[in-house]
């Protein structure tokens, strides 16, 4: 037997209406505690679901869409989220995040950004900070390993001077894993960011175990393959045993699979919809699958 009507649209049909009311009201305290994960290098805990901004927050100067992004951010904080991740590569995403933070009265965000330039890293970082409107970033990462030696020196110096809390590197969709691994082995990183989901599991082999060994927090990007994965699964029924882990949709099914990996600290799905951000955060509540169940989940998706 299978649970039907398990698409995002079906499960959360009424959620969109919350977008308007969310902006109009101050942030409310969350009622359900979402899972918190420790950052190995300090022990500080952060919510296990963050918010990505690739494509979804790149809305330019369009005020209607900027307000929609602010509504997504409001729902994110209201549901217990804290980490927002962006990059200078993401078009207008940084100023749009800054717009949302200002509109929401500077909520307690864990500000994660990247440096992505072959030129002046400090100048780009300062521009990014101004876009966000935050006093400092919590985490800065070298985006896709671009000029990584120079940028890591800059980031370590900022951390030493107390102008940055954590340092990391990123990759996506399985690219340059060999170099990524080498840097992980040789550099004192706090965070690594990589792509990992129920069908892209290359990181399972070396990077995730290495992150555990080296005491590095792991941020998982593109958990839904930029939406391709959830779109492909949309017409398929969730297995009835998904209820055992509290997954009411494919999005939650996938996120729970990711979060159950012991090396994973935060997953950062991006979305432009309030109902989706609530649904994503809800995936970090309730039970998570054990290893046997994760295996079963991966096999089920593979055979679809």
């Amino acid at each position: 037997m299978a649970i039907h009507g398990s698409t995002r649209r079906g499960v959360l049909a009424g959620g969109a209406a919350l977008a308007v009311s969310t902006l109009a009201s101050p942030l409310r305290a969350q009622t359900v505690q979402i899972a918190q994960r420790a950052i190995p290098s300090t022990g500080e805990t952060i919510p296990a679901i963050g918010l990505g901004s690739w494509i979804t927050f790149n809305v330019g100067d369009d005020l209607v869409l900027r307000d929609e992004c602010a509504a997504v951010m409001a729902a994110f904080f209201e549901s217990g989220g804290r980490m927002i991740d962006s990059s200078p590569m993401y078009g207008s995403s940084q100023p749009v995040i800054g717009y949302g933070l200002a509109k929401l009265g500077a909520p307690p965000v864990f500000a994660a950004d990247k440096v992505w330039t072959s030129g002046d890293g400090p100048e780009q970082i300062e521009q990014s900070r101004r876009y966000w409107g935050v006093p400092r970033f919590d985490l800065l990462q070298v985006h896709n390993l671009v000029t990584w030696q120079n940028h890591l020196k800059t980031l370590y110096a900022m951390k030493e001077a107390g102008r940055l809390r954590y340092v990391g590197i990123t990759t996506s969709e399985g690219r340059r894993h060999d170099l990524f691994e080498e840097i992980m082995r040789n550099e004192p990183l706090d965070f690594v960011q990589l792509t990992y989901n129920i069908v892209d599991r290359e990181a399972d082999e070396r990077l995730l175990p290495l992150a555990r060994d080296r005491g590095m927090a792991v941020i998982v990007n593109r958990p839904f393959q930029q939406g391709d994965l959830t779109r492909e699964l949309e017409g398929e029924p969730l297995p009835d045993w998904a209820a055992e882990i509290g997954a009411a949709s494919w999005a939650q099914f996938i996120l729970k699979f990711i979060l159950a990996h012991p090396a994973v600290t935060v997953a950062i799905p991006a979305t432009s919809r309030v109902d989706h951000v609530r649904e994503n955060l809800a995936a970090a509540t309730g039970p998570l699958p054990d290893e046997a169940m994760r295996q079963r989940m991966a096999e089920y998706v593979e055979q679809l």
Binding site: N58, V59, G60, V64, Y90, G91, S92, E173, G174
Partner: protein, 197 residues
Amino acid sequence: MLDWSYRLSDFLLFSPRVYWRMFELHNQALWPLPLATLALGIAALALVLLRPQQSERWIAILLAILWAWVGWSFVWERYATINWTAAYAAPFFAIEAAMLAIVGGLGRFALDPRGARGIGGVLLVTLALGYPLLALVFGRSWQGAEFFGTAPDPTAIATLGFLIMARGRSVLAFYPIPLLWCLMSGLTLWAMADVAD
């Protein structure tokens, strides 16, 4: 070494919804200018067909003004906010505008709408002038239609149409920029076809 693991959609920085709303906002901000530039385009085509010798200089100058205008008002001011690569494209609009202004000013832009090239050119310009209808054909709001003279794609396509009708080897120098823009825009539309909002 090239990384072949990238897909076209990996280079898409924005959603289709944001892209098409950009034209709506652009038209709203400029209205009724898009209708005026469209009317100028229709008049230019009519002039080429009826009195080609008298129209050459003015068509080159008209195109020069529109390339400068579209490059600044749309590509630089609007498109570059969601696509940083557009900031690199905008100066090429200024270059095309300058080149057209020079040949227009010197009276060196010679048009001949006869023969097969003439027919091809007229058809291409007609297609560009009819570009706003594509919004309706593809189920988008007419408010987000792309107009010759205010949006880059129909402006580039119409320019190519006039270039096809133009005589002389020097005209070849005017092709690369509109052709490259059409290629870049075509790839963007292709990538967006694979991505949902």
